[in-house]
Symmetry: C2
């Protein structure tokens, strides 16, 4: 999908020409929406329900990107409550679903339906209209309020700036609040653009962020209360629509760090590669002379909601990398990929697949209690290792339990430590091997662009 | 020379039976001394010099060990001073040396002569008799005073206890104040035995020592002055004969730590292997599955005093191990051996001879100044490595300069860092290989004895 020339001049102009939606795209989405709207309005009438069929999300807010062929449709029902939606929502959706379009019923907080037509997709979400006096505890019902807020603040020019930010966030891999990314939602990107006034100004602000950053766009939040409530958040951005809510609650330290570093590098060395629509089609750097441990798993992942799959997969990945580190392997990079359907792959880049058979361990200082010295010596000797004095402490050697990364991973798979993976019902195959030519360089394009940006 | 049964019962009794000198040994040393004495007394007469030919050292103090066939003979001259000894000492020694016995003229602070006869050896040292009122600044002239002090304090029983301590110190590798060992001198061992009353009581005291330990056997020292004067000493033992002198000035932290740890382990698990005369003739433990880097050097070491050879060799060893550690090698143990004549060998035991070709390096936090981030990225990329974000910081990879321990050592040999080795005029050959069967376990016998002591 890379339609951008690789450049460091007028980068944002070049990118905007690629990511701005086309008239054709907007026309198609609009008629798709009208079709769905007609179908559901008819159905509401048939069922004697009162409600409004509205378009939400980036299409509604005017910040949609050129490669997005999806719309969010909310049916805002009158005279029903959350409980009704939970209880009757699925039946309502099935009843109203068009006989002519394929659909899937899904669940997040609420039931919703995904309808597709020739590559177009609409998520249709029934919600109860919230009472304006009781905004707390809202979930998905908050969405229409967000749409309204953004529309009231954004002109066409600012929408372009929001598009740049979204594309940048996607380009550096931190766009999306779901478990998979734990990054910046579309609404958060829009809010930041509104707050700082332009794409560049958001980046300039982000250059100074650290974990604990607190931003209150409309000055409506109570910092003390929010900091207490979102104690584990690395970033707080007060939601103008719901001042007790942190719009950035999902942002992980990795996402924050990535965005901060990317913002700084971009401001110094702008390049199209920072944007999602301008990623190079081939790896921008040659592969590194490293090793890769792959754990390929298969199983009925479709039995679990995607967020649950990602959550368990990420927990398992952390446990596996910890195990490998404890065993003595030096880990360069680790990722997990899944189709959320039936395959899940951990990929860990290591300095090497094999370690020496003995490892050197530090023991107690000579001035430690006799018991500790004796224990250390007897432990090392009984393991078949050795012990001696180096400078001022005991040093010993012991046979490594696992010399082989694949063996260590297999042992982990058979242990309790990989429980979160087994919850998913998968079975896995482990391979560790030298990276092939051109593979195995975890440097993202936006970092690699620095070398290009310097004319090298 | 191991004549001791391997035992953990009555260990000290068993050891004493081996290390106590025999009547025959004492008779031979005594007649050797009388022969030298006659020769030198005649020579003094001939030269019109006034002086006394005396025996010093462990033979004179009654603490000699059964395998020692050496005596120290001091010629205490009247009416001459230090300067005379320095100027005329060598001529005097050559003039008086027996025509019938082979000898070597040597230098330490003073000139001295080593005379040998059928495996017997005597060091003959001319000194000026010190004025009792001016003890400060004494060097080798202090020796007769030490002999006198020890003789006045030690009976036969206590001499046996001193013998045990000396044999223990030698057994655990910390006997001798010379540069090679930086350990406990014979006089220091005797002083500690006198102070604490028995071998076991010295060990019990040592169990509580740490760097900075201060011992004043006769309560004659000024702690503040001594601590200032011997700021770099890890241990201070005030010399009863010269209260401004630290008898333990030579003791390194490694020697102190070794003695402290050995004392603790011995008190819990006594074993004959802690004593020098009872070392097992074969390695007490199987070899470890490790690697050894050998640097074998040859050259005219005989051109340098032994202490200078050891000093430069130890400095070079430290520089080499630092280089290897910086390069990424895990060092288990390192030693240097030399015949002080023409060979010198560094032996370094490593987890492995080779490392992976890329290494993982930590970079700055995302919140660091842009300049540091840019610099890290450009450095890694221009080296042919990569850079990415892990949690909250930059991580990168870079090609290792040296994947091979031998290559790293050869590069070190060709660099300024090995200057102290080149001062010795040697040339060296480097090999790194897997330890052969049964080689390469740095565990000393006294530590290995713990496993035996437990009846395993």
């Amino acid at each position: 999908m890379n339609k951008c020339p690789e450049t460091t001049d007028n980068v944002e102009e070049v990118v905007l020409n690629v990511i701005r939606p086309t008239r054709r795209q907007l026309t198609i989405l609009s008629s798709f929406f009208r079709h769905v709207k007609r179908t559901y309005e008819a159905c509401l009438n048939r069922l004697g329900l009162k409600g409004e069929v509205t378009v939400q999300g980036s299409y509604a807010k005017g910040t949609i990107l050129s490669d997005k062929w999806e719309i969010d449709i909310f049916i805002i029902l009158e005279g029903v409550d959350k409980e009704w939606i939970k209880r009757e929502g699925e039946a309502f959706l099935r009843e109203c679903a068009s006989r002519h379009l394929p659909y899937t019923i899904r669940y997040s907080e609420h039931p919703y339906i995904t309808v597709s037509m020739m590559g177009l997709e609409a998520d249709i979400v029934p919600v109860a209209r919230p009472e304006p006096s009781r905004l707390e505890g809202l979930g998905v019902e908050r969405t229409p309020l967000h749409t309204e807020y953004v529309r009231s603040k954004m002109d066409r020019e600012l929408a372009d700036q929001a598009r740049l930010l979204k594309s940048f966030l996607r380009g550096v891999g931190v766009y999306g609040a779901e478990v998979r990314t734990r990054g910046f939602s579309g609404y958060l990107a829009e809010l930041l653009t509104i707050t700082y006034g332009s794409f560049r100004d958001v980046l300039r602000a982000a250059s100074g962020w650290r974990p604990g950053v607190y931003i209150d766009p409309e000055g409506v939040g109570d910092e003390k209360v929010l900091r207490r409530r979102y104690r584990d958040s690395v970033m707080i951005v007060v939601d103008p629509v719901d001042p007790k809510r942190n719009t950035a609650a999902a942002v992980s330290v990795q996402s924050l760090a990535t965005f901060v570093a990317a913002a700084k590098l971009y401001l110094e060395h702008p390049h199209t590669w920072f944007f999602h629509a301008c990623q190079p089609s081939r790896p921008p750097l040659p592969g590194l002379d490293m090793y890769r441990l792959n754990v390929d798993c298969r199983g009925p992942l479709y039995n679990h909601p995607p967020d649950a799959v990602w959550g368990k997969a990420l927990r398992a990945l952390e446990s596996l990398t910890n195990r490998l580190r404890r065993t003595g392997f030096k880990i360069a990079h680790h990722t997990v990929a899944t189709d959320e359907y039936h395959t899940l792959t951990f990929s860990i880049i290591l300095e090497e697949c094999g370690l020496s058979s003995m490892e050197v361990v530090q023991g107690p200082y000579a001035w430690s209690p006799t018991e500790r010295l004796t224990k250390f010596v007897l432990k090392r000797l009984s393991e078949g290792g050795g012990a001696w004095i180096s400078i001022d402490r005991m040093i010993g050697s012991r046979p490594r339990r696992f010399k082989d990364a694949a063996e260590a991973a297999r042992h982990w798979l058979a242990s309790e430590e990989s429980a979160s993976l087994h919850d998913l019902g998968v079975s896995c195959r482990v391979v560790c091997e030298k990276c092939g030519h051109g593979e195995c360089n975890p440097t993202p394009a936006w970092i690699a662009s620095l070398l290009r940006g310097r004319g090298r």
